[in-house]
Assembly symmetry: C2
Homo-oligomer: 286 residues x 2
């Protein structure tokens, strides 16, 4: 018997992100034509971390594709807090820059919290500023964290109902788990947030209609932990011997899921597409 | 056989709030002695709603007890948005006012959202400003909504472990449910947020180690919906024929709970005590 083909269950983050980018491109063109405004994103990269450099490069390439002006503010490893704060203030003040992205992690001698607080919330492309996180929590979503927003967009694109469904989130980080919970609560899902302190994780994941996993623990979620027909988003990334793995044991879990994101090619591309959307949003509101 | 006495299971919000107020009073005395600063709370009440007037009066009485200067900014029903915004700005600018409380609901012709946004986050005694809600969501709790904070304080005072416990919240309002979820996630509970769209509410409540209910549906939670030994907070209030009822069928649920708040005399007094704590906190930080 030939092995079943599960391709139709795969949430194709790459083609989804192309669709979003196409919409952003149209919005950018319109903004240029109607108001003469070219959306601008400034990325701040302090030091030479290779992974951070790669992420910044991916974002700049996306900007190129959609017609957003991208500017690389590369600062040396030796940058002082004061210099970083000055740079942020300078970008806050510039009219041609609508989005500011501080690439994390910063070198250890710098305080990322005060730096992120210094970014004008209206230019906070990453959506991590407390003001934007608070608006998210009270249901007034503007600039919000890009990865969970990408999950919401995928749910919408694949016509997955959210209201009344049991959404289980594994991982309670500020970047994924907590904003993801807020977005799903705002859309009237019943939301359970699990994490490393959760007793009997399987009990929760087995009950999930929608499962979002972002822990960084390779293949934490096995087939016997998910419900038949669940919709699954894998936000985890583990690199091992040159290969990239998610938090979900995709090859086995796909047999039970109705929809599931692969790693790579799932939520990653969506995150960048949403970032583009945010820069356009910020430029349109200015 | 005599009926069992469940008094020891009752979380006594009145005596707990006295304890908190006593601590606040000591802090206020210290602040006066050491820095010559008297904490000041200004309440803004627009119109003559009797319930709102009563709430404001309760808060002013608490201020008196702990030595906080309380000021009643009573504005007529006919107040315009501009006048309200001016009043808020005036209070933001005053050095002797450390906490500002806008009593809700406002008359229908006024926009509460922009009014609340205008309050200086550092003086936001109620903790509803997006900036403070966002800090809460990312785990940097300062001025936060008073009612859920009162629940956390009660859990601490009664030595109830939170980490790893399953906390179930019924109701997803901005005032109680959502900030309550954030506080419990920050303390490493596994948190489920249920509400009117939840399918099979009982399945969730039956599994709760800690249950917080704030829906305004009288006696929604019955004895067969809770686990033996659960710790239960009833944040609901329904008035009926001159009597006040909670969301929990107390008389029957108390037989299964290990700890439970009554209505009235549970979370209500705690909310006001936490408000006092916030004004002291704001005055200490200035």
């Amino acid at each position: 018997m030939a092995e079943e083909n599960y391709d139709s269950r795969k949430i194709d983050g790459r083609s989804l992100s192309k669709k979003v980018e196409e919409q952003v491109k149209q919005g950018v063109d319109k903004l240029k034509a109607e108001k003469g405004v070219t959306p601008g994103l400034a990325t701040i990269l302090v030091g030479d971390d290779p992974a951070s450099k790669m992420y910044v490069r991916l974002k700049h390439k996306a900007c190129e594709r959609v017609g957003i002006h991208a500017e690389d503010q590369n600062m040396p490893e030796s940058t002082t807090q004061e210099e970083l704060m000055q740079k942020i203030q300078e970008l806050n003040d510039r009219e041609d820059i609508h989005g500011i992205l501080l690439q994390l992690p910063l070198p250890k001698h710098l305080d990322d919290k005060s730096a992120m607080l210094a970014i004008d919330p209206a230019k906070d492309a990453d959506g991590f500023h407390p003001y934007n996180m608070g608006k998210l929590l009270i249901g007034d979503e503007g600039l919000v964290p890009c990865t969970p927003k990408g999950v919401i967009r995928a749910l919408e694109e694949y016509d997955v109902a959210i209201q009344g469904k049991h959404a289980v989130i594994v991982g309670h980080s500020n970047v994924v788990g907590k904003p993801m919970a807020a977005m799903l609560i705002n859309r009237n899902a019943t939301v359970s947030v699990c994490h490393v302190f959760t007793d009997n994780l399987k009990k929760f994941t087995l009950d999930a209609d929608i499962l979002v996993v972002g822990t960084g623990v390779m293949h934490l979620i096995k087939a016997d932990m998910v419900k038949e027909g669940a919709v699954i988003f894998d936000v985890g990334i583990t690199e091992k011997e040159g290969k990239v793995y998610g938090d979900v044991d995709f090859d086995n879990v796909v047999k039970k899921a109705s929809l599931i994101t692969p790693v790579p090619g799932g939520v990653g591309p969506m995150t960048i597409a949403i970032l583009m959307e945010h820069v356009l949003m910020a430029a349109s509101n200015c």
